[in-house]
Structures are given as structure tokens and as C-alpha cells.
């Protein structure tokens, strides 16, 4: 069986981001870009399923400018078999991405699509769900364990508020990864070398018949408010008084 996985190009999690002075977005100039960490978990899960003999082919998808080829290469070095770059200069929003995936699912007929539960740039956390809705497939989001069964189903443990939920989904299904699903590996040197020889197909959204026009307009991007300096209280009484009368969190 085939699995589609995602490798979104995002600002590396180690970079402390800077908001542009015109508040139109985040400064991406000369900033280190990486694979979205939740997508790394998705790639790792697919590669493990392949190593366990449950999956034959892992196809990595990245959507965006040609620079996304770098994230595809990274995924290929981690063990994906081939890549698909959907190249566009458009600002890709969750709905547009979901439509692209719907088209790719029709084209590739995978048994599973594994996406990150969110990307650390927009933190939208909705693409996986949209893909499932648009393609009419089962979804298992926030997965912390995925077991592929022989009867064309998967048993997925989900991290939900207040605990874990175990569900069974019929394949093909859409899965989104949570942090504890696995610990992604690093690429070995031979695999970094091999990645260069693996095939990558490039399509435009038009090739796939998808309209990716943005539907959401960003009005303003601002950095989080700086935290005000704290104070040191002298006594417990003073603390209780401040919590009651200033912060008004106890009564």
C-alpha cells in the first residue's frame, strides 16, 4: 500500500521570528527553513510502517515555491521513496492545501495520508480534517499510536482532552500526528546521498485542476505583547490581598 506524507516548509523552530515593520507578516529573509516538526513525525511514522512491511511506498508532498524541494529532499533522506512538489507562488491556506491533497489522493490512490496535526507557522490545525471532509475519507487526528491491521483498518490512539481515545478507522484514512507518536530519526550519510537520486514530480495547482486562490485575508500580524515585569511580595498576606483585589482571581 501507498502512503502520502507531508513536508511543509516552515521557519525552523530554533529561529526567533521577527514581525515585519509593516505588520504584513513574518520576516522570512535569510531565515533558516525546515520541515514542519509534526510533518517529521508523519514521515517517520510512514517510514516505520514501511520498515515493518505494512507499506510499500512512501510519497512525500510539499506545496509552495520551488524552495520546498529542499524539504522534499530532507524527507527522501529520511526514507521516503519519491516526492511530489506542487509548485505555486500563491499564499497557500489550509483549504487550498486540502484541495490539492484531494486531487493527489485521486491521482495516487493511497491507503493513508499522514499529515502533521498542525504546522508551526500558521498553527491552523485544520488541514487534515479538511482533507478528510473533501475526500470523504475517515479521519483519525492527533494520533499517538497507529496500528495497521490486516483487515484494511487501522487502530489509532488519539490524544484528546483528558486522556486517550482509541478508534478504528477504515482505510483509506487521513491521520494527523501528535507529538508523542514517535521520535523522528536523523538521516544517515548513505541515505542523504541516495535521496538525490530519488524521483520528484512537479505539478502546478492548475495541472491538478485546483483553484488555490486565498479565501482568508490577513489583516495584521503583531508580535505577542511583552510580559510586564513581576513584583516580589513581602508576605503571604500581601500575596492574598493582591490576588483578591488587583488580579481578582480569588475572592
Amino acid at each position: 500500500m501507498k502512503v502520502l506524507v507531508t513536508a511543509k516548509r516552515v521557519v525552523d523552530y530554533n529561529v526567533s521570528i521577527r514581525v515585519l515593520s509593516d505588520n504584513s507578516g513574518v520576516d522570512l529573509n535569510n531565515v533558516k527553513m525546515s520541515v514542519n516538526p509534526f510533518d517529521e513525525i508523519a514521515i517517520e511514522e510512514a517510514v516505520r510502517l514501511k520498515e515493518a512491511g505494512k507499506v510499500e511506498e512512501v510519497i512525500v508532498v510539499s506545496i509552495g515555491t520551488s524552495a520546498c524541494g529542499e524539504q522534499i529532499r530532507t524527507a527522501l533522506a529520511l526514507g521516503a521513496d519519491r516526492g511530489i512538489l506542487v509548485e505555486t507562488e500563491e499564499d497557500m491556506q489550509p483549504l487550498a492545501i486540502a484541495k490539492v491533497f484531494k486531487a493527489l489522493i485521486e491521482k495516487e490512490q493511497p491507503k493513508m495520508v499522514i499529515l502533521g496535526k498542525q504546522a508551526i507557522d500558521g498553527d491552523n490545525g485544520q488541514t487534515g480534517q479538511m482533507v478528510a471532509a473533501l475526500s470523504g475519507l475517515a479521519q483519525a487526528t492527533f494520533a499517538s499510536e497507529v496500528v495497521v491491521n490486516d483487515d484494511d483498518t487501522a487502530t489509532v490512539t488519539r490524544e484528546v482532552d483528558g486522556g486517550l481515545e482509541v478508534i478504528s478507522v477504515k482505510l483509506p484514512a487521513i491521520i494527523t500526528t501528535d507529538l508523542r507518536l514517535n521520535e523522528p530519526r536523523y538521516a544517515s550519510l548513505p541515505n542523504i546521498m541516495k535521496a538525490k537520486k530519488k524521483p520528484v514530480d512537479t505539478y502546478s495547482p492548475e495541472d491538478l485542476g485546483v483553484d488555490v486562490t486565498p479565501r482568508v485575508k490577513t489583516l495584521k500580524v503583531t508580535p505577542p505583547a511583552e510580559r510586564a515585569a513581576g513584583i516580589i511580595v513581602e508576605t503571604v498576606e500581601e500575596l492574598v490581598d493582591k490576588l483578591k483585589n488587583e488580579a481578582k482571581v480569588i475572592s
Binding site: E70, R73, T74, Y186, A187, S188, L189, P190
Partner: protein, 384 residues
């Protein structure tokens, strides 16, 4: 921006190293232990085979990739001295070994089954004056018989093979003093206790350096590496790679120190403000950064020449000199920035400070580089 291969290798090595905390290295430093699991992981994931050609099971890449590996190892707070030689000592076999030697040893080195990370050159009585070394190898039938003494031979207890330099023709019988020396591959396990005595030296850093005593050690004549009497060339040919790799390690150390110092200066509050707000604290760190970055450019230049197959003796030496001084100065500034805490082992600064100090002395000391530049680049009179 660096090309993507380099970036992938950098990321992978960084991630690998993050599995070995600085406390791991401190623990080994305390006990004089060897990072067996770290070296094993670095080897099996291919990162120590960078320079071995693909036909022998290596990655067949250039010195640029090798440098990134060593730089990242050092930058992570790890101690590259435990394994860097595995990267380059095999070059002697690759360039000067017979077909048989190459086919026998290189694939096993690439697979991590054979450790060739020890080289025996330095002697107690002759030091830097390498061509005057006194260890002799005498041919008897199909064997060589070795007698003499070596000092500071690192990692020999964690190595299966050693490249040894010994005299086969007395200095008085050769016209050039670099002639009459020969290089040999020594099977350490077989030799140990059978003519070779290994004596660890208690030392400032954890390089597992030892004194070696040869007393009629017999080795098969086939273990000669290259031509008899031309061994100095065998050693010399590997030196540029060694210098550049060491320089890359110093860049890694330097960046480690600058990162640590600037983070500490930003977070440590004294007199109700971060110490790094004082220019007296901030400027030395900024200066260290400029020095490390300048040295990194020289390392880059040397690497480019090396990988293009161009002569790079001067650049390799200059890179090593500048990088080893930059990392040492960054280490000193990092110590100063940390105040008393610099001396607490759990901060790791003093350990890295000791480790990076070596590179102004070994594998070649600063003075000898200056004399090389004076004589060979600036054409001034030879000083020794």
C-alpha cells in the same frame, strides 16, 4: 546559504550529537572513559566514512563534508578528539597502500569493523624534529623488527591498527634527511604484549594518549605502507587534511563558546541588569565572534583548494593557526563571562577550554606553522 548536502549533513550530525548530552562527555572526562557508543553511532550512520571512496564502501565525499561533521561534533559540546583520526588516518592507506592493503582494510574501516585511528610519529627525545626520530625498523627475512619509543600516541587502546613511522636507513646514510623513514601498518592487538608495551599518560584532556615501547616487535614485511624509505611522504600527504579538519573542529569549539557566552551574558543578572549589557562583557564576546568567523573563512578557503586538488599547504596551516587561536580566545572569553561558574564542571566550559587548548600545540604547534609561513610563503631563511 550552504548547499543542501552540507545542510542535511549538518542537521543529521547535530541531531545525532543531541543524543549525547554534555553530561555524557563530562562523565567520560572524569573517568578517562572512551565514548564507545557515540563513536559507534557516528560510524554506523556513515559520518566517519565521508572520505573513503564509494568503491570501498565509504561515502566518497570531500573534505568539506568531513569538516562539517567534525565542526558539528565539537559545536555540540562533544569531544571530537576521541574519533577524528578515524576520518583521516585511513588516507595513508588510500593514497599509499597496495591494492591488497586497500581492499583488505578500507571496506572494513568504512563498515566500522576496523578502527584505524592511531598514528605513531612523535618521540620523546626528538619532538617536532620528526626526521630525527630514533625508532628503527630493521628488515630480517620477510619481517621487520622494530625497536624504539613513541610518546603521546592517542587512541591506541581503542584502535585495531596504527600507522607507525620508523627509520629503516640511518640518517647518516641518506642524502636527504626526509629519506630513509618508512611507514608501517601495525596490528595493535597482535603487537600488544609481544614486543609492544602501551603505557597510558595521565594528561589534561581525555585523548587516551600513551607512551609506546618497542622491544623487538616483529611484523610481517607486507605491512610496509608505500615504498621503503619514503615513509615521510606517506605521513606528510595526510597532513593538509588533518590540519584542515582540526581547524574545522576549532571553529566548532569557537562557535560553542560564543553561543554559550552570549546566552549567559544575556541571562545572568547582576546589579539588576544582564551582565551582557555592560560593554566590557559584551565586546569581548563580539570580538571572539568576529575572530571565529574570520578563521572560518580561511578554513573554507583551504577546504576549497583541497577539494579542487590544488596545493593548499600554506592555507591549511594558516587555517589551523587562526582557528586554534580563535577558539582558544573564545574559550577564554567564555570563561571570563561565566565568572566563578566557569570553574564548575557542570557548566562544561572548563572542559571545553582544556580541550581546545591542545590545538595550538598538536598536531603541530603554532611556532612551526609560523616558521613554515616564514620560510615557504615569505621565502625568508629557514630557521631550523
Amino acid at each position: 546559504m550552504e548547499n543542501q548536502d552540507i545542510e542535511e549533513i549538518r542537521q543529521a550530525v547535530r541531531q545525532l550529537c543531541s543524543n549525547y548530552s554534555e553530561d555524557y562527555w563530562l562523565g567520560l572526562d572524569r573517568t578517562g572513559g572512551y565514548p564507545t557508543d557515540f563513536v559507534k553511532e557516528l560510524t554506523t550512520s556513515g559520518f566517519l566514512t565521508v572520505l573513503i571512496p564509494e568503491e570501498y564502501g565509504g561515502a566518497g565525499l570531500g573534505l568539506r563534508e568531513a569538516c562539517v561533521v567534525m565542526e558539528e561534533v565539537c559545536r555540540s559540546g562533544a569531544h571530537a578528539g576521541a574519533c577524528h583520526a578515524q576520518m583521516y588516518v585511513m588516507g595513508s592507506v588510500l593514497r599509499h597502500g597496495s591494492d591488497y592493503q586497500k581492499k583488505t582494510y578500507l571496506p572494513k574501516i568504512a563498515a566500522g569493523e576496523l578502527r584505524l585511528q592511531s598514528f605513531g610519529v612523535t618521540e620523546p627525545t626528538t619532538g617536532t624534529d620528526t626526521t630525527s626520530l630514533k625508532t628503527v625498523a630493521k628488515k630480517e627475512g620477510d619481517e621487520y623488527v622494530i625497536n624504539g619509543q613513541k610518546v603521546w600516541i592517542s587512541r591506541i587502546e581503542h584502535s585495531d591498527l596504527m600507522v607507525l613511522l620508523a627509520r629503516t636507513t640511518p640518517q647518516s646514510e641518506v642524502s636527504k634527511k626526509t629519506d630513509g623513514l618508512s611507514a608501517f601498518l601495525i596490528d595493535v592487538q597482535a603487537a600488544n604484549g609481544n614486543g609492544l608495551t602501551i603505557q597510558p599518560i595521565e594528561s589534561m584532556i581525555n585523548h587516551h594518549s600513551c607512551e609506546l615501547f618497542f622491544d623487538d616487535l616483529r611484523i610481517p614485511a607486507d605491512n610496509l605502507l608505500g615504498e621503503e624509505g619514503k615513509g615521510f611522504r606517506v605521513i606528510l600527504d595526510g597532513m593538509n587534511a588533518e590540519r584542515i579538519l582540526i581547524a574545522a573542529e576549532c571553529i566548532g569549539d569557537g562557535r560553542y563558546f560564543v553561543d554559550k557566552a552570549s546566552a549567559y551574558a544575556t541571562n545572568r543578572i547582576v546589579f539588576k541588569r544582564p551582565i551582557g549589557q555592560n560593554q566590557g562583557v559584551q565586546f569581548p564576546i563580539a570580538r571572539s565572534y568576529t575572530q571565529v568567523e574570520a578563521a572560518a573563512l580561511m578554513v573554507d578557503k583551504a577546504v576549497d583548494l583541497f577539494d579542487a586538488g590544488e596545493p593548499c599547504g600554506a592555507e591549511a596551516n594558516i587555517a589551523k593557526l587562526l582557528a586554534s587561536e580563535a577558539s582558544w580566545q573564545a574559550g577564554d572569553v567564555c570563561m571570563q563571562t561565566h565568572g566563578g561558574f566557569a570553574f564548575a564542571k557542570e557548566y562544561h566550559i572548563e572542559r571545553k577550554f582544556r580541550e581546545t587548548r591542545l590545538y595550538q600545540i598538536a598536531p603541530i604547534s603554532t611556532n612551526l606553522i609560523l616558521s613554515f609561513v616564514g620560510e615557504h610563503v615569505l621565502k625568508m631563511p629557514r630557521s631550523y
